[in-house]
Each structure stands twice: as C-alpha cells, then as structure tokens.
C-alpha cells in the first residue's frame, strides 16, 4: 500500500507542473498594474482584521512592492519550471511544490503588507517555509541542523522585530506603513528611537544575513538548489533589505542609522567577498557572494541621497537576476556531473552549450561588463558611494574591493567549469530544457536590460526609489554617463578583478589558512550559546525531575502554600479572621470524633484501625450534610464512602501491612510537618474568610424560581443536576466510565501478561 502510493507520487509530475500557473498568473497580473504604479497611484486594499487592537489586513502595491513582487513572481515561475526537472523522481516532489508556492505567497504578502503586524505574520511565515525547505532532505542530519540554525537565527530576529513594531505602534498610534513617514520626526525625537531602531535592525540583519548573523546563509545551502536560487539569493534574504528600504523614510537619515548600516554593510560585503574567494564548491561560493551583495545593499540604504538609494534598488534587481541564474546553473552542473567542486570540472561548454551561454551572460553582468545591467548597477553604485553622508571614502573603497573580488569570482565561475580541458568528471550531456531555459532567459534579461537602461529606470527603479525617498526624485539609468569618477572606478574594478583572478590560487591558499585560524567566530558563539542552553536545560531537568515522588510533591504543595499564603495573608492577617465559634453541643461531639479519627488514621499502624478512622470521617461528613439541609448529598456520601471503604479493604488485603517507615532525616520530617500544617491553616483561613461575607445567591435564586416552573421538578438539587447542568453530569459519568475502563485495563494487563 505504502509502496503503491509512493510510486504514484513519483510518477505523477502534473500537480507540480500545473502549480507553475500560480506565479505565472500573478506575474501577468502585476505587469498590468505597472503603468498605474509608475504614474504614482499605489493600489490599496484593506479589511478589518483585529479592530480591537487596531490591526488591519491591509495590502498596498507601490513602487518598492512592485519591484519585489515582480522579482518574486518572475523568478518563482522560472524556479518552478526548473524544479520540474531538478526534482524528477523525488518521492516528496509534490510536497516540495507545495512548500515552494506557500513560501512564494508568504513572500508576496510580506512585500505587499501595509500593516506592521500583518507584515510580521508574513515575515515569520517566510522563516517557517525556509526552515521546511532547508530541511527538505530531512533524512540528512546536516540539513536538519542547518534548518534549525536558520530558523533560530531568523526567528529570534523576527521576535525582536515584533517588539520594534509594537513600540512603533505605541509611539505613533498606527500600524499602517503608509502613514509612518508622516510620523518620522516624532519617532526621531522619541526616547524609544534607539530601542526601536535596534529591534528593527536585528530583524533585518538576521533575515538578510548581515554580520554578525551571516553564518546561517552558507549552511542554508543544504536546501535543494532551486530553493537556494529562489529563497536564499533572490527573495527571502532580501526581506531584510526590503524592510530597511521601507523604514528608510521612517527611521532613516539619523547619524546612528547611517553609521550602523554603512559600517556593518561594508564589513559584511568585504567579508563575504573575501570568503567567497576561499571556497571551491559552487553553491558555497555563490552563498558567500550573496552575503557580499546583501552587505552592499545595506550599505547603500545607510545613505540618504537619491544616488545611494538608486544604487541599492538597482543592485537589488541586478543581483536577483544574475544570482538566481547562477544558482540554477550550479544545480544543472551538479545534476549532470554529480559534483559542485569547481576544481573537478572543466570544459563543460562543449557538452552543455545552453547552460554555458546562460552562465556567460550572468557572470558578465555580475562582473559588471559594459552592455550588461551589472555595469549600470556598478556605475550607479560608485556614484551612490561617493554621495554617502558618512564615510563616503570607506563606502567607495569597500565597493571597489568587493566588486573587484566579485569580478574575479565571476571569472572563476564561468572560466573554470566551462572552458579549458575536461577534467576528472564528465557530464552526461546538456541538462533537460527546463533546467537551462530559466538561466538562459535571465541571462538574456541581464543583457537586454543593459541595452535599455532608461526603460528599466523608468518602469522599475524610479517607482521603487520614489516610494522610499522622502522627496520626489528622477532616476535616470544610462549606459554612458560621460568620463567621470565612477567610470574610472569601474575601469579600475575590472583591472583589479583581473589581477585577483590571476592570483586567485595564492589568495585562496592564504585565506584558507587564515579563516580557520580565527580565534572567535560568530557561528562559534552561536553554537556555544545553543550548547549552553541545552546543557542548562539538562541540568535543571536532572535537578527537578530526579524521580523522587516526595520531592515533586514538596515542590508542588510548597509552591502553592507559599505563593497563595503570601498573597492571602498579606491582605488579611490571621488575627482579623478569628471570631469565637458558636456551635451546639452535639455538633461539638461529632467534630471531636472526627478530629480523633483524623489522628488515628495519621498515626495508624494497623490497616483495620485506619479503615475505621476513615469510616468515622466519612460518616461524620455525611451527618453534617444531612443536618445542614443536604439530604441528597448525605445519602450519596454514605453510599460512596461505603463503596470506597469496601474497595480499600479489598486493595489492602493484597498490599503488605503498613510498616513503620520513619522519614529519612530531620529535614524531611520538618518539611512534612510544615507543609501539612501550612496547607491546613491556609484552607481554614480561606474558608473562614469566605464565610464571613454573605453568599451571593443570585444563581441559586434563579434555580429556585425556575426549578418547578421551567423544569417541573420539586427537588432543586436534582433538577440542577439532571436538567440545568445535565451536560456537567454527562461529563461526570464519562469520568467514572473512563476511570473504570482504565482500572480494568490495569488489572487485565497483569493477567494476560506472559
């Protein structure tokens, strides 16, 4: 049965193929909205969601949202087609497409939310689906660990983000993103500004793998390659960038914002670029360059000039294109050759011409050669870096070095695997068409966009920049801006990149020696923290759950007595409760008999004596019920007490005699006495306090009035049980039945045991 169903999943690719219609439909729909967005009229949609908390299900499609949404749906479509071939024969193929499109919708929700709380919900959903997709090959321990690490890091950031959102809501009184820029001045002056900023940055930096949270992204490469192409290069890791862009007009422009973003962004970029040189495995290299790219974007969002923001948005588009294409290529190479080690493959171009062409286009854009969109991205980057408000020199320097390293990596990526002599591993031919059509289309787009930069600027970048810049700006993307500093820097980049490529082996050797020698890494700190939490949990479990029933009872009873006693006696001292009791003599006799019976049971050495004592207590209670106007309760009590004692007698016949069993030590005995006397005093004090006030008989009066008129019964207690509260009685009968069944099972098991 299992085998048949698995086989069916394996052989039916159509659910996955048809699911490509979802991103296709969304993409077409979004394209039709572009003219409206370009003319500056955002599309808004809002329902009430939690009106009591001022939370709305509000969506808004504006310039930034459109840019992100187009990237998400377009690359989502190509990745779906790609995965149709990549996941062929995988037993959980349909589940893969389900997760993929659930992620796609969450990511779309994230970039379209106009409500901070809604944005948070989608934010966490993307983390969740990322977790499921990284751990998709759940049989592998490495995939599971990476998934958990990514979830913990991005999840913790997400929680801090929620705190930040709530503080923004407290300060401004609104969760609507589109209204927040109007409150910017108020937020900047507020004493919570720094806390809000830190929470937001924690969310954005964990999600977008900025230093010191960058370590989860390379590990996330345990995911299937289509996922790396989609989530971990083009979309999810850009969510942090999206958030920073969105918050730019709200929280941005202050010295602390600019300093933090520029410094951490620049460091992350240099770090990612340097480490990528040291790697030889394709996906690992690409992951490190993604970290570098995210660093660059963060750095530019630290600026407030129009060129800096334009650079961030343009590079966002440029990077999403070339990086998703290169990931898909890496998957295709893996698929055809069985390895992703760059030193093991060579000369693939003659076997895989389409993949080679796609790689060539994508890497030329990555390296920033003229005629490609990457070149325009780089020009605008240098222009942006030079207009940063803080550290323009550092920004320009970091951009220059990172870009040069990028050029060298790009050269490595296209020259090593595809040109030169074939190496150890030979491919089995060109990849299936689904696996090269996407990269080739994207590679073509890199070239096409590079040829019509003003069109790209007009339709894609300008609306996005306008949405996040305080004042209206015009964006002009051009192929050639004239002979100026950015052009000079571009030329230097290519020259530097070339020399880095020539010396890449030497660089790699030096870096591979240097990196493991680092005394402290943030991943090490993270692992240490997780290990510390786990060992603390183990320690406290050993302490608390040590198997001693006595200790459990002491903790439970002690906590109750101390906490309740603390609150209760703090408000009403014992002396205030005391009034001399008045009672008739016969009652006194009964009570003395009961107290003696308690003493007998507590001290009993003989089982028969103890049962007699219990009988006196039970009968005494029954008499009290009878005397104080509860004949039904009294009768039930006598019946149940008799049954209980009969069963106790039967059970005791099978248990050994009660041996004197002294407490292990003085402390144990003191604890026993203290806790029992303490709880007794507490119960007495409670009851006295309760009975000192008149009982509210509203509900009782209702039952008294309605008993005969509505339920036609003269015994009010009985009417309550079988009529007004009959469901409670049904529950009671159920408890009796379940308990009887459980008791029966316990005895039965013994008899049938071998």
């Amino acid at each position: 049965m299992m085998a048949i169903s698995t086989h069916n999943h394996r052989s039916n690719p159509w659910p996955g193929r048809l699911s490509a219609l979802l991103p296709l439909g969304l993409l077409v729909g979004l394209v039709f909205q572009a003219p409206r967005i370009q003319s500056g009229r955002p599309l808004a949609l809002a329902f009430e969601w939690v009106p009591g908390l001022n939370v709305h299900f509000a969506l808004l499609l504006d310039g930034v949202g459109l840019l992100f949404a187009l990237i998400i749906t377009a690359i989502g479509l190509l990745v779906t087609i790609y995965a149709d071939a990549y996941m062929v024969g995988h037993p959980q193929r349909n589940r893969f497409f389900l997760y993929l499109h659930a992620f796609l919708l969450s990511m779309l929700g994230l970039v379209l939310s106009n409500d901070l709380i809604l944005l948070f919900v989608f934010w966490e959903l993307t983390s969740l689906f990322s977790f499921l997709l990284i751990g998709f090959e759940h049989a592998s321990a490495q995939a599971r660990n990476s998934a958990r690490q990514a979830l913990l890091v991005t999840g913790c950031g997400g929680l801090l983000l929620l705190v930040g959102f709530l503080m923004v809501g407290q300060v401004t009184g609104t969760y609507a993103l589109s209204e927040l820029p109007g409150h910017a001045a108020q937020l900047h002056r507020h004493s919570l500004y720094l806390s809000i900023l830190m929470c937001m940055l924690a969310g954005a930096f964990t999600k977008s793998a900025q230093f010191p949270f960058h370590f989860w992204l390379p590990n996330a490469m345990a995911a299937p390659t289509p996922i790396s192409a989609f989530l971990h290069s083009a979309t999810m890791v850009k969510a942090g960038i999206y958030l920073l862009a969105r918050l730019h007009p709200v929280l941005g422009g202050t010295p602390v914002w600019m300093t933090t973003l520029v410094l951490l962004g620049a460091f992350t970029a240099l770090w990612g670029a340097a480490v990528s040189i040291a790697r030889t495995e394709l996906k690992s290299i690409l992951a490190q360059t993604t970290i570098m790219a995210l660093g660059i974007m963060t750095m530019f969002l630290g600026g407030r000039s129009a060129p800096a923001l334009t650079a961030a948005m343009t590079f966002l588009l440029v990077h999403s294109l070339y990086k998703s294409a290169l990931f898909m290529v890496a998957g295709a190479i893996d698929h055809q050759t069985g390895t992703r080690e760059i030193e093991k493959i060579g000369g693939l171009a003659r076997f895989m011409p389409f993949t080679a062409a796609a790689t060539l286009f994508a890497t030329l854009s990555m390296a920033g050669f003229p005629l490609f969109i990457g070149f325009i991205g780089k020009e605008i980057m240098y222009k942006g870096a030079l207009t940063e408000d803080v550290f323009p020199g550092l920004a320009a320097g970091a951009t220059l070095v990172s870009n040069a390293l990028m050029t060298a990596v790009a050269a490595t990526l296209v020259l090593r695997p595809f040109w030169g002599q074939p190496r150890k591993v030979h491919p089995s031919g060109e990849a299936p068409w689904q696996m090269w059509i996407g990269p080739l289309l994207i590679g073509g787009t890199c070239l096409g966009f590079g040829l019509i930069p003003d069109w790209v600027g007009h339709w894609l970048v300008e609306p996005a920049v306008r949405a996040i810049h305080v004042t209206p700006v015009d964006v002009e993307l051009k192929l050639f801006y004239g002979f100026n500093t950015p052009l000079l820097l571009s030329m230097i980049t290519i020259l530097m990149g070339g020399s880095f490529y020539v010396f890449r082996r030497w660089l790699r050797r030096r870096l591979s020696q240097l990196l493991p020698a680092l005394p402290i890494t943030t991943e090490g700190l993270y692992e240490g923290l997780v290990a510390a939490v786990i060992s603390f949990a183990k320690w406290q479990t050993r302490r608390l759950q040590n198997g001693s029933l006595f200790q459990y009872l002491v903790v439970i009873i002690g906590a109750t007595v101390v906490s309740v006693g603390w609150v209760f006696l703090g408000s009403a001292p014992l002396s205030a409760l005391w009034n001399p009791p008045e009672f008739p003599g016969w009652l006194g006799l009964l009570l003395i008999a009961m107290l003696m019976a308690i003493g007998i049971v507590v001290q009993a050495r003989s089982r028969v004596l103890a049962i007699c004592g219990l009988g006196v207590i039970g009968a005494g209670a029954a008499i009290l019920f009878l005397v104080f106007g509860a004949p039904d309760v009294g009768l039930t009590q006598i019946l149940v007490e008799t049954l209980t004692l009969i069963i106790v007698a039967i059970v005791l016949l099978r248990l050994p005699p009660i041996e004197p069993q002294p407490d292990a030590n003085r402390l144990q005995h003191t604890l026993r006495l203290t806790l029992s006397i303490g709880s007794g005093v507490l119960v007495s004090a409670f009851l006295i306090a309760v009975t000192q006030h008149d009982v509210d008989r509203t509900i009782t009066t209702f039952y008294e009035q309605a008993s005969y008129i509505q339920a036609h019964g003269r015994n009010i207690v009985n009417v309550i049980l079988v009529d007004f509260r009959s469901l409670d009685t049904l529950g009671e009968i159920t408890v009796v039945a379940v308990s009887a069944l459980a008791a029966r099972a316990l005895i039965r098991k013994k008899r049938s045991a071998p």
Binding site: F550, I557, G629, V683
Partner: protein, 132 residues
C-alpha cells in the same frame, strides 16, 4: 458554626497532606481519601450554613416559600463526590498494580527506570499468587 467546620476542613487537609508526603503507598492512599472528603466539605461550607431547610418545593407551590439551604454548592458537591470516587478507585488500582510490578510500597525504593528492570523477578511471584 462555619468557623468550626472550616477548622475541621483544615485538619483534614493537614492530615491528608501529611499522609501524602509519607512515601508509603498505603498511607498515601489514606491521605487521598481524607483530601477528597476535605474538599467536598469545604465546597459545602463555603456555600453558607445559615439555612438548614432542604432545597425542596412543597407540593402545590410552584416557587419555594421560606428560605432554604443553598442548592448550588450541594449540586457541585454531589458531582465532586462521584468524580472523587472514580479517581480514588483508579488510584487504588494503580497503587495495587505498581506494588505488584515494582514489589514495594515504599516510593523511595521504586526503581527510577520503571518496571523494565523490576518486572521479570516480580512476574513469577505474581503469577504464583494469582493462580489459575
């Protein structure tokens, strides 16, 4: 009146807890019975004992005339007695069964890793005791 019954309840609770902490299954069983009685009595007392007429409507009347005992806590206690009984019976069987499997009524001497280790040695004696 209520004060003195409240003190009796307190004594029942104190005795019950004292026995519950005794680390001997038989004494713990007695403690549970006492606690069960204490709780039922406490609910009853909390409802007030000023009126002692049973909550009944006289024949011919459609609403009760004179003031009478509080019917609501009585209904609650009735339910509590039965549920308490059910739970006690289950506890008795559980205690009996754990003595059979673990071979002791002293909770300190029960093996920490459960019956897996204790079962084989106990099993033979149990079967002999029960007979065919």
């Amino acid at each position: 009146m209520e004060t003195v019954l409240a003190i009796v309840c307190g004594c029942l609770v104190a005795g019950g807890i004292y026995l519950l902490l005794s680390q001997n299954l038989v004494r713990m069983l007695f403690g549970l019975i006492m606690l069960s009685n204490a709780v039922n009595l406490a609910i009853f007392v909390a409802g007030g004992l000023t009126h002692t007429q049973p909550a009944l409507i006289a024949a011919g009347d459609s609403v009760p005339g004179a003031s009478m005992a509080n019917a609501l806590p009585q209904a609650l206690v009735l339910t509590a007695i039965v549920i308490g009984f059910a739970l006690l019976v289950f506890m008795f069987v559980l205690f009996y069964r754990s003595y059979e499997v673990l071979g002791t009524t002293d909770t300190r001497r029960m093996p920490e890793d459960g019956p897996a280790r204790a079962y084989p040695s106990q099993n033979t004696t149990t079967r002999q005791e029960m007979g065919p």
